[in-house]
């Protein structure tokens, strides 16, 4: 049972991206990206490095501000069609708060205990009282299998444990959407499974998610849709099994040919 069970028929888009463009100087990283993700859908973004998939993910959370286009997440709209207007910090923060993000390098706050890492969002952004936030954080840590490590420091954890704390920290904000930016790429192969298990569990609970990943078998099994990106364009998008097993585009086929080992 995967996120596919909750797949709607596209009538209720949770994420809508129209005409998104982004350049770093003369380098056009995203060239007119259009994307629609229904509520409860899991999307895996694959593609070679430098294809723009991480920039797209960061743009969805406004960590990287687009130059043009429009992003709507859960009914909240950010319009960049007037060009690069300087957005107010308050509006950016409010938009980001509704979306959880998990990074390749975990980015836990090293000066705080595990449970404080999970509590800080609800306490300082949502203004929750500490007792409520603590109870919720304890619950989330149990959910990712780390209830016993609540008082540990991030540096005492393994990579897989750190990433599970990072997931709990993102979930503490009760996001409508979770974004994973190569969440398992920095992990020892032996630790990848425990993080993927948590992501799979979220998919089963109907969380809308976009994952940038190199785990092709995982993308095929857990995602509803796979998007293949190259050179700042979406080259192919379709049903996960179809894109991974029988890609239509030559570029997708060529890219996937490097992963046969991981697809068994």
């Amino acid at each position: 049972m995967t996120g596919k069970a909750q797949t709607a028929n596209g009538a209720d888009p949770m994420i809508e991206v129209v005409g998104l463009k982004k350049s770093f100087g003369a380098l056009h990283v995203l060239k007119d990206i259009n994307l629609s993700v229904p509520r409860g859908h899991v999307v895996a973004m694959i593609g070679p490095s430098g294809s723009g998939k991480s920039t797209l993910l960061r743009s969805l959370n406004l960590l990287s501000l687009p130059d043009a286009g429009c992003i709507t997440i859960g009914g909240h709209r950010m319009d960049f069609s007037m060009g690069r207007v300087s957005m107010r910090d308050r509006d950016l923060a409010a938009f980001r708060a509704g979306t959880g993000m998990v990074f390749q390098n975990f980015n836990l706050f090293p000066h705080m205990s595990v449970i404080d890492n999970v509590m800080i969002g609800p306490v300082s952004v949502l203004k929750q009282d500490k007792a409520t936030a603590r109870a919720q954080a304890t619950e989330l840590l149990a959910k990712v299998g780390l209830a016993a490590r609540a008082d540990a420091r991030p540096e005492q954890l393994s990579g897989g444990q750190k990433q599970r704390v990072a997931i709990a920290r993102a979930l503490a904000m009760k996001p409508e959407v979770m974004l994973f930016d190569e969440a398992t790429s920095a992990l020892d192969p032996a630790l990848v499974g425990e993080v993927l298990a948590v992501i799979r569990q979220l998919a089963e609970q109907g969380m809308t998610m976009i994952l940038v990943t190199h785990e092709m078998a995982f993308a095929r099994d857990v995602a509803d849709t796979v998007i293949f990106m190259q050179d700042g364009f979406v080259v192919e998008t379709g049903d996960a099994r179809q894109v991974i097993n029988e890609p239509r585009e030559a570029a997708t086929r060529d890219f996937l040919s490097h992963f046969h080992g991981g697809l068994s």
């Binding site: 959370n61 308050r90 923060a93 980001r96 980015n107 969002g121 503490a172």
Partner: protein
């Protein structure tokens, strides 16, 4: 070398030395606090990236970093009143100069500490919806502060030693009192030896304490 060292005459002036020490320590603490406050404001303003504030601040910082404190003190006391038309008391001139001199160095320490924090920390804070000020106060500064402790202590030790220059403006710090005592008992060697020991007695435990604090926090 058959100089007869005689410290006995100094004891009667213990009150003066203590008063001088109080001035020295008082000025040091005041200008460390004001210097760090002004320096932090400079650092944050520079990090804002707005040229309209960053350029004037860089000019001020370089002006104070690249001229001797003694020159700054004298200039601030004699020349600045001519420019602004307001007479400045020696202690005020000394306070302004040491604050700005300290701020110029503290600003670079604070800025360096902040920019040394990994960009991923900013990303992570932003991703949970924290605003710039919150992120700075709860995520970035607490981590940067730890890295800033050793250079801040170094600079503050210098700050204490720099207060000895206040004597040129007749601010009655430790060194100035020493000069008074010298002119009274004609025992400069003993007086300055004693003064050196007093500075050492204050600073050595301070640096040890800082060292211990630093080791404990990491």
């Amino acid at each position: 070398m058959d100089y007869q060292w005689d410290f006995s005459g100094l004891w009667q002036y213990r009150g003066l030395f203590l008063q001088g020490l109080a001035y020295t320590i008082g000025f040091t603490i005041l200008t460390i606090v004001s210097g760090i406050v002004v320096g932090t404001v400079f650092a944050l303003a520079r990090l804002s990236g707005w040229k309209i504030v960053t350029i004037p601040i860089m000019v001020v910082v370089e002006l104070f970093r690249c001229t001797p404190v003694l020159v700054q003190l004298v200039w601030c006391y004699y020349a600045l009143p001519m420019l602004i038309g307001i007479e400045i008391a020696p202690a005020t001139a000394a306070f302004i100069t040491l604050t700005m001199y300290g701020a110029a160095f503290y600003a670079e320490i604070v800025r360096g500490g902040i920019v040394s924090i990994d960009a991923g920390q900013w990303d992570a804070g932003r991703a949970i919806g924290m605003r710039r000020g919150q992120l700075m106060a709860k995520i970035i500064l607490p981590q940067a502060l730890r890295r800033m402790v050793p250079p801040l202590v170094n600079q503050s030790v210098l700050q204490l030693k720099n207060t000895s220059l206040l004597s040129v403006l007749a601010v009655p710090d430790l060194l100035y009192q020493g000069q008074l005592v010298t002119s009274a008992i004609y025992r400069p060697l003993e007086t300055y030896t004693l003064i050196a020991f007093i500075y050492l007695a204050v600073l050595f435990p301070t640096t040890r304490l800082a060292h211990w604090l630093e080791g404990r926090r990491t």
